[in-house]
Each structure stands twice: as C-alpha cells, then as structure tokens.
Symmetry: C2
Subunit: 250 residues, 2 copies
DNA sequence: GTTCAAGTGTTCAAATAACGCACTTTTATT
DNA sequence: AATAAAAGTGCGTTATTTGAACACTTGAAC
C-alpha cells in the first residue's frame, strides 16, 4: 500500500527532534525510543542523522539540541522582519511600560513567542525568550489569540483543548473561558491573573496576522502591578498603540 | 548497499527545511526541487510532510516557515537558560552601553545569535535577532569565536573558509585574518570595523562554551562610535565583566 | 572484583517506503 | 486562445528502512 503523498521516515525524524522541544536538556537514544515509541534501532538511525546534519550534539550517551535549530528559526524571524521592524517597537514599548512585553503567534494549540523585550529594572525575570510557548486557555495571550480566530476555527480548537489546573486560581470551566474569549474579542484585549502562574498577570491585545497566524502583543507583570486602574489603563493604551504600529508593518 | 547508520530520507527532508534558512520568504515546490537537486516528486513528498507536521504553511503554491520552528529553537534556548539568566544580563549591558549587544555561538562555519538586547535609543536598527547568523571571517564575533577554538579545530575551519568581499574594506588576506584571530586569542577581545557592513563596527569578547560550542559576547555600533578611546575602553570593560558573569552561569 | 541492569553497537533477510518517469491537470501569462 | 510553468497522479522498480537477535560497553551496587 503506497502513500505517495508523504515521507514517513522524515516525519519520524521530525518527531525525534520534537522530543527536545520542552527544554529537556539531555536525551539518550533509549529515552527517545521510549518517547517516540519507535524501535531502538530506528531511533538510533534518526539520532545519528540529526547529529550528522548538525542538529544534535552528543556528549557521552546523551544528545542535546545544537544551535543550528536556532539559525533555522532565524529564517522565520528574518522573513517576517522581526529584527528590523518589530523588535525596535517592542524595545520602545518595554521602556515606556518599564516591563516585560512580547509578541506571540498561535501555533496550533499554543502561543509561541516570536519577539520579546524587557528592561533590566523589571521586577522579575520570567524566564521567557523567543521560542517560549504558552498554553492558550489560562493566559491573556492565549485567549487573545483565540479571540482573533474566526468562530469556526475557535470552536475546533476549543474542542481539542482541556483546561489544566496550573494554579489554585486557574479557571477550569470551559463555559466561563469561552465567555472571556468572547469578551476579549469584543474589547480587543484580554487580562488574566494568577491563572498560569501564581503571582503573575498578563495583559494582551490583538495584533493582526503574521502569514495567516493570529498574533497578539502582551505584557507580563507581577500580579499586584495591575491593581491600580491607571497603571492598567496606561499599559492597555500603550499596547494598543504599539499593536497598531506593528500591524502597519506586517 | 545499505548504510544502516543513517536515514537518508530524513536527511533530505532536513535539507528541504534548510532552504528556508536564509530568510527567503516563499518557495514553491519547483524552487525547492531546484535548490536541493531532488526530483520534483521527492521534493513534493517532503514539502507535504513538512506541511502536515506543521513546519511549513502553504499559500497558493508557495511555502513559508511556520512558527513551530521557533518553538523548537525555544527548546534550545530554554535548556540553556537563555531567558531566565542570560537575557537579563544582556538587557543590563545594553542599557549600560546604550547600544546593541548579543551573545553568539559558533555553529560550524558561522556565528549564530542566541540572545540579543538593544535599547530603543540605539542609533540604528541593525535588523539582527535571535537566530541571525554572521560569517566568521569578517566580523569581530566570528573572529573571537575562532580565537576560542583549540588550534586544530581553528586550522580545520580556516581551511574550509574563504573571505568574501562584503565591503571595500573587507580583509581578504588569510594570513592577516589569521594574525587578527591570534591577536584576539591573546587579548581576549576582537574589534572589526567596516569589514562586514560599511558604517558599522563590532567589538566582541570570549564567553566560554555553551554545551561545547564556543560563545562570544559582542556589541554592534555605528563605526564612528568607537573612535573615542574612552568609549572603546568602557565598552570593552563592560563586555568583559558581563562575560565573566555569564560564564559563571553556564 | 563480580554481578547485574540499562544502554549501545551490528548484522541481515524481509517488508515496504521511496523513487522517478510518464502522463494529466491546473494556473498564470501573453 | 495559446503557451509555459507548476502541480498532481499512478505505478513498476529499486533501494532504504525495519526489527529481531545477538554481542558489547558502561556504571552502579554490593
């Protein structure tokens, strides 16, 4: 039975690469065989190919990602002018708000940071960087991204997603989450506090589409920071303005 | 003739992905077939697999990178604590120097930016981002990376590299370049001006190794900026101090 | 030092996935 | 309408991938 519309060996190899996605530093061939479910011999061939092609580095018996993968991501960032046009806007915004801001796009059921800026006086180092991912349901970013999807797409996605209790305050009720997304769609912004990580809050506004992917611009801060209404309003206004500037360039 | 120590189909697929590395926005299947030399049918199977796995997005007949590749790069960055520990140091440094700083590692014959920070008052937007690559020979970053290689590795690399005339001032003499690298190795820093891009200069210091890859910390500025000796000295000192702080965390 | 468990390397015949040609269809251009 | 370039399809051939079996290495425990 031939399926001439795909290369299954290649797909398997990509699955091996994806094992390293969540930052798990070191994986042995045996780990990868278990994670992917492929035979040990198969996992071995794929790992060796990745090593030969410069995507993995081996030390003793464990493999790690090589920086080559970052260069590939650079292709995405360059083709969308992230360095040249987007990043300066985010730097400006971070300084204005004296905080931590990021631009994210939706990749299937998660948000991916594609640019980020923070001032050194930021109260916390959240540990996010370009390439960091966030779940869609419990974050302002994620909800704003969902709010930007057309209704069909949004329904399809929501049907595939189930809330996970990340903190005591994570909203676990899909009806309620759906309502917040609808609200975000109307308001043009979304706010979430203590739902993803206790003590932190996020505020996000829509930012158009990047090559067909919904984009959102957001700010992450200590939860208490947004308590004063004027702080919230200032941030929202600055984000909104910046988003308009960004949309013009994409 | 079997070679059981590799998966050639997988390697071909990776080569297809690499076509998008240099920021070429859109490629058709025919483009990819030409670029890789693979039969059109082969290129098609690989492209469709990449699309199905979420790495490429198709619009009409052209493919572009999807943000998923950025999330994979995030795995590299997270496993090396770039967001949490390295980035804050770079932010601080960029503010101190009121400029554009970056941490790069060597990936074979090029430098890859793995973190970057700039203040919004920076005179120019150089257009670099995480994932941007630089040639090793005509840049301060690249020379500093080569300076950190052990002599054997350095020789092997230099034998594979040929200078390219990027500006009228690009040093094209390998003997001279080799001398500058030796100098960098002794001094602990490297400086290059107008060799990569007219009007810009770079200053870089060594920054240890990240998972076996040489790393360097550098600053990019308008060429004239470094003319005053005290500016140069201040920058060098700040870079050196920051590099020591970074090395402690890696 | 010995034992054991877990991981790794190697081989080979069988299975099957990939190949690439030839042909058709679609799309854009003139 | 005519043309060229790109994309999609089917299929016999080929060669790559597969996975079980066996051997080797490593490191921890005792």
């Amino acid at each position: 039975m031939h399926d001439t519309t795909g290369a299954s060996t290649f797909a398997k190899g990509l699955h091996v690469l994806e094992c390293f996605q969540d930052g798990s530093a070191d994986l042995t061939m045996a780990d990868i065989s278990r994670l992917t479910g492929y035979d040990r011999a198969t996992a071995r061939r794929l790992c060796l190919t990745l090593e030969a092609e410069g995507y993995l580095i081996r030390t003793n018996r464990s493999f790690r990602l090589a920086p080559k993968i970052v260069a590939l991501a650079g292709g995405y960032l360059a083709s969308h002018h992230i360095g040249k046009f987007i990043q300066p806007v985010l730097n400006q915004l971070a300084e204005t708000l004296a905080g931590d801001v990021a631009l994210a796009v939706r990749d299937d059921t998660r948000a991916v940071y594609i640019a980020r800026s923070a001032v050194s006086t930021a109260r916390l180092s959240f540990g996010f960087s370009v390439g960091s991912t966030l779940p869609l349901l419990p974050t302002a970013m994620g909800r704003m991204l969902l709010a930007q999807c057309d209704p069909d797409r949004r329904d399809t996605l929501l049907a595939r997603l189930a809330p996970q209790k990340l903190t005591p305050e994570t909203d676990m009720d899909m009806t309620s989450i759906r309502a917040r997304i609808d609200q975000a769609s109307q308001d043009g912004f979304s706010f979430a506090k203590n739902e993803f990580e206790t003590g932190t809050a996020g505020l996000a506004v829509g930012c158009g589409w990047i090559n067909g992917c919904e984009a959102a611009l957001g700010m992450t801060e200590a939860a208490a920071h947004f308590d004063k209404a004027d702080v919230f309003d200032t941030a929202l206004e600055a984000l909104t303005k910046a988003a308009i500037g960004l949309k013009r360039q994409m």
